[in-house]
Symmetry: C2
Subunit: 253 residues, 2 copies
């Protein structure tokens, strides 16, 4: 397919690479950020522009991969009647694009994407379309980059997925971050935790996390918990979270 990518951030860059790797053609990259757009265009041997009026009109799919709160502005400037246009945001309704075309939709990659990634990870795609044409093209595009993980999902299902994604990614990463800060302040090496982090994340592929829960909270080992809280007295932010998550683990059983 011939694809125009609107946006030059992490999602634009990684999806664009996936499309190229799958044999599609990136016709053009549009971004307000002319320098970021031309960098991606150079990588993909294509053109870039920072004028919406210069966006090419004959692509198979237009992908709007910009920040959630910029989608509305972009949609206001774009008129692509007859074309298939999708945004990539989990939490934005597809109808925001209905002024742009009759064939609008969503192409949401449920993954944490970074431009700097050396290896492109598996990316489950949740798509939605306003009509058969949009659904068909977006589904085909999704299958071309993500064989096993392509699912049709409406606005509400995507929003629900996003909540779960925030929990297992943003919140988990924040726990890593607090642990790293704690280690630094206490003179122990965060990197010694990396095998444990890898094992914990890997196990969830095999066993339900409910089954594999362990630790002082689950054992109601109040002696160890007290020792830990004592050590956390100079880390009020982490201590607060330690108390709440310990209670939550005990409540879950």
């Amino acid at each position: 397919m011939d694809i125009v990518i609107i946006g030059s951030g992490n999602v634009a860059a990684v999806l664009g690479r996936k499309f190229k790797a799958a044999g599609h053609t990136i016709l053009q990259v549009y971004s307000r950020n002319a320098s970021a757009a031309s960098k991606l265009a150079y990588e993909w041997d294509t053109d870039s522009t920072n004028y919406t009026s210069l966006i090419i009109k004959n692509a198979d799919v237009y992908l709007i991969a910009v920040a959630d709160d910029a989608i509305d502005r972009v949609a206001n400037e774009l008129r692509l009647p007859g074309m298939v246009v999708a945004h990539t945001a989990a939490s934005v309704p597809k109808e925001v694009l209905k002024r742009v075309t009759a064939h609008y939709g969503v192409f949401y990659p449920l993954q944490s994407l970074r431009k700097e990634m050396a290896v492109l990870p598996d990316v489950p795609i949740f798509f939605d379309g306003s009509d058969e044409l949009a659904r068909k093209k977006l589904a085909a595009l999704a299958h071309s980059i993500s064989d096993e993980n392509v699912i049709e999902a409406g606005d509400e299902a995507r929003l629900k997925l996003h909540v779960a994604a925030v929990v297992v990614s943003n919140f988990v990463n924040h726990l890593y971050s607090l642990a790293e800060e704690y280690c630094r302040k206490e003179g122990i090496e965060f990197k010694q935790l990396l095998p444990l982090i890898a094992e914990t994340a890997s196990r969830v592929k095999e066993i339900s996390p409910e089954q594999s829960q362990t630790g002082p909270a689950l054992r109601h080992d109040s002696e160890t918990i007290q020792k830990h809280l004592e050590l956390l007295k100079n880390h009020p932010q982490l201590k607060n979270i330690y108390v709440l998550l310990t209670e939550s683990i005990q409540q879950a059983k």
Copy 2:
């Protein structure tokens, strides 16, 4: 080395396998649980007992891999003067073993271990010893199963490591568990989150988690956060954690 393993749980089983794989001899397995002990003994082609009085007296190292609150009881029943004896607990002082021998210590594997593991993971070892003999033997044993991750760590350092381990493993797993429950109740598939879970855990090897934090909390995207809280109104436990971790992420910046 000739090793006697005291205990028959997850840590006993996985460390025993690592020792066997490294060419050591398991002389005997002791456990109050005779059936679990004889299962491990069968696997390792060795003897087992459930009487402390029958524990063989001439091993190079005795490893007490039992639950934290059982170490004291085991230490009370064991007299192994002249021998090197270590427990595997992060949060228990080594001195609990000083009635057993003059050469006591700790051999703490900083990893989440399960008997059922098909693949033995990397296991950083934090060791400590009451004297040169204990330290030397335990360090040699540790290096034989974990080349790059062997570190001497006293009682306080181990306790600190344990706090960090609880955060990045028990608490992270609890977030996975809450997300799984949420997905089940909302009719979405938890397994679609597995690539995201893998990527989030893998990234921390390359980039400081503080650097790679993303999401609605960090962006102060209160519109998305409100939508998420609305969806969580029938999940009070997760909602509570969502609010606290969102605040904590915003506080960190």
